[in-house]
Amino acid sequence: MTVLDTPSVARSSVTPRRDIGIKRRYAAERRFRLYGMLAIALGIIFLALLLWSVFSKGYTAFQQTTITIPVTFSAEIIDPRNQRETDPKILQAANYPLLARDALVKALGVNPSDRVAVRSVSALVSASARTQLRDLVMADPTIIGTTQTVTLLADANIDSANKGQIDLSVAETSRKVNDRQLGWMKQLSEAGVLQKSFNTGLFTSGASSRPEAAGIGVAFVGSLYMMLIVLVLALPIGVAASIYLEEFAPKNRLTDLIEVNINNLAAVPSIVYGLLGLSIFINFAGMPRSAALVGALVLTLMTLPTIIIATRAALKAVPPSIRAAALGLGASKMQTIFHHVLPLAAPGILTGTIIGLAHALGETAPLLLIGMVAFVVDYPGSPMEPSTALPVQIYMWANEAERAFVERTSGAIIVLLLFLVVMNMGAILLRRRFERRW
C-alpha cells in the first residue's frame, strides 16, 4: 500500500517524508542496547556481590594471630629421668604443651597453682605447639635446658576473637573465649607478644582439625599433580583424535555418530565420570583409593570432549587455501597438517585446553566416589599417594563447625580464584600472541 501511495505523496506540496519506519527502527535499536547494557550490568552486579562476599570474609584468613614468647626447654619436663641418651623416644613423647603453658603463665603472671586459670591460659595457644616444640627439640636436642624465643600459633578461638569475629556482647558462657582470656589477650598484645602476622601456614600446611594449623598445601599439590597429568594425557589424545576426525576420517554415518557422542559426553554430569572411575580404575584396575593419579584419569576423561570440540573448531577455522597451497607445493598430507594447519590452529587448541583444565580444576563431584574428598594431613610424595584437591578443601572447610574455618573457606576460595585467573590470563595471552586473522 505504501508503495502505491508514495508517488502521490511525493507530488503533493506539503512533502511529508516517506515513512520508512526510521523512528521505530531507531527505537528498537535503542531498546536492544538498553537490554544489553542491563544484562551486562546484572552480570557485573552478581560478580561484584560474589567477589565482595568472598573477599570481605576471606581477606582476614591471610593473617594469623601468633604469640612470641621465651620458652624454657626445661629438662625436668622434657626428660625428667635423663634417659634421652639411651631412649630417644622420650623426646618424641614428652609433654611439650606444658612448656608453652608454663611460658605463658610466667609471661602473664598467673598464679601457677590456680588450676582453673592455668587451664584457661593453656587454651590461648594452639595444640599444634606440641609438634612445633617437639620438632625444635628433635632437630637440636642441645636446646634442652636453655630458653629460646619461639613464635607459637594462637588458638583458633583466640585468633577469631582477635579479628573481631566472635560476638563479645553475649554472655560469657555462650562464647568460646572467656572474659579472663580477653583480658590476657589485651595484656599480651600491649606487650607486643600477641601479634597478627602473615599466615604462611595457610599455604604450606595440610589439612588439620585445628583451624589455626590448617592449610591448603596438600590440596594445592594434589590439584597440581592432577592438572599436570590431565594436561599430559588429555592434550595429546584430544588433539590426535580431532586431527584424525577432522582431516583423515571419511565423512560417513560412523564418524557422525562419533561426533554426536563426543558432544553428548561433554554434557554428561561429572559425577558419572566419578562412578566410572570407581568401577574401572579402582575396582577393576586395582589402583589405590584417594590417589591423585585416579583423580587425574577421571578428570582426563571429563576434559577430553571439551578439548576435542575446541580443537576441531580450531582446525576447521584454518582456511582451506592453506591446505590447498601446501598440497599444491607437493607437501604430503601429514606435512600439510603438522607444518601448516596445526601451528595455525594452536592458539585455539591451547585456549580450549586451558578452559578444559580450569573446568577440571574446579570439580569436586567426580572426586567424591574415588575417595579424594578426604582429610589428608601428609604431603603426597607422588601421584600414587593419597591427596585431595583445592575445591574439595573448600567444601570440607565450609562444613566445619569452628568459626575460624569460615574465613579460611573464603581464603581458600580466593586462592582458587587467583589460580583460575592466572590460567585464563594464560589462555588469553596465548591467543593474543599467536592468533592469525584472515
Binding site: R289, F338, V373, F375, P386, E402, R403
Partner: protein, 344 residues
Amino acid sequence: MNAVKLTVAALCVSAAFAGSAIARDQIQIAGSSTVLPYAKIVAETFGETYPDFKTPIVESGGSSGGLKEFCRGVGPTTIDIANSSRPIKSSEVEACKGAGVTDIQEIKIGYDGIVFATDASNADLALTPKDLYLALAAEVVVDGKLVANPNTKWSQVNPNLPDAEIAAYIPGEKHGTREVFEEKMLAHGCEEAGAAEAIKGLISDKKEAASKCIAVRKDGKAVDIDGDYTETLARIASNKTGVGVFGLSFFENNADKLKVATVNGIVPSAETIASGEYPVSRPLFFYVKKAHLGVIPGLKEYVEFFTSDQMVGQDSPLADYGLVAAPDAEREKTRADFEAGKTL
C-alpha cells in the same frame, strides 16, 4: 608425531601403575559426616603421636556410603574402617559377607546429642516431643479424624511457645540424624499427644500407623536440610524465629549465635546426655575389618589409640569437641571386646 609418542608413553606409564596394586601403608577411613570431626582429631593426633605411621586418610560421604565402600571386599584398594552414626544393618552385614568381609569388629566411640536451637536473639525455648509432633506432623488427629496439620503458629501448639510462624529446619532423609529425630521426638510426641492410639484405631495396618506418626508435613513449615549444619545455621540466621536441628558439638562451637531449647525441661549437655536425662541422643560407631589388622601398618594401634581414655575419656579432646563420652564400664568393655577379637 611427538603427540602420538607422548600418548603412548603416558598410556604405558598408567598401565604400569595400574598393574601394581601395591601394599598400602596408610589407614583409609570413610563414612559418617557426624563422626568425621572426631575421626579427624584422632587421626591427626595419631599421626603426631606415632611418627612411624602415616596419618590416616579420613573420607566423608555419609554412614551408608562408608559402609557400602567398607563392604566392597578385602584388600589394599578397599577401606579399613567405616565410620557410622548408626549401628550397621543386618542387610549390610549380609552384603559384607557376600563380598568376603566376614569378620567385622564394632567399636562404639561415644554418644552424640541432637539439640534444637534458635537464633540467639530469641527468648528461652522449652520444647517437648508432643509440641514438635503437633507442629511438624503431616497429619494430626482432630475430633477422632486424621486431618492435614492445621497449626501454623507455635502458640497454637502450646500457649507457652512464642507467637511465631512454625518454621523448622530438620535433617533431610539421607541423614542418620533424621532417623533419631523421628524415633526420639516424633514417635514419642505422637504417643504423648494420644495420637498414636487414635491412629491405631483409624488404620489397622501397624506399619502404616507407625509411619503416620513420623510423617513430616510438606507444606513448607518443615524444611529438609540435605546439607550440613552450616546450612541450617545460615537458614536460622535469615529466619530468626526458625528452629533448627544441630549436633551438640556444632551448637557448642556456635553458642554465641544460637540459643538451645530444652527438651522436657532438660538442657542438653554432655552430663545430661551421658546420664540419659536428655532424650535425644544416639551412639556413634566405627567398624574395623579384622582381615586388615596386622596387614595395614598402624591399624591396630589406631583403634587402640581411638578407644583409649586419652582420646574418648571424660576429659579428652573429643569430649572437648562435643562427643559425649560413654560410661567408664562401657569404654572398658569396648576395649576388651576389641582386644579379644570379638566380631559381629
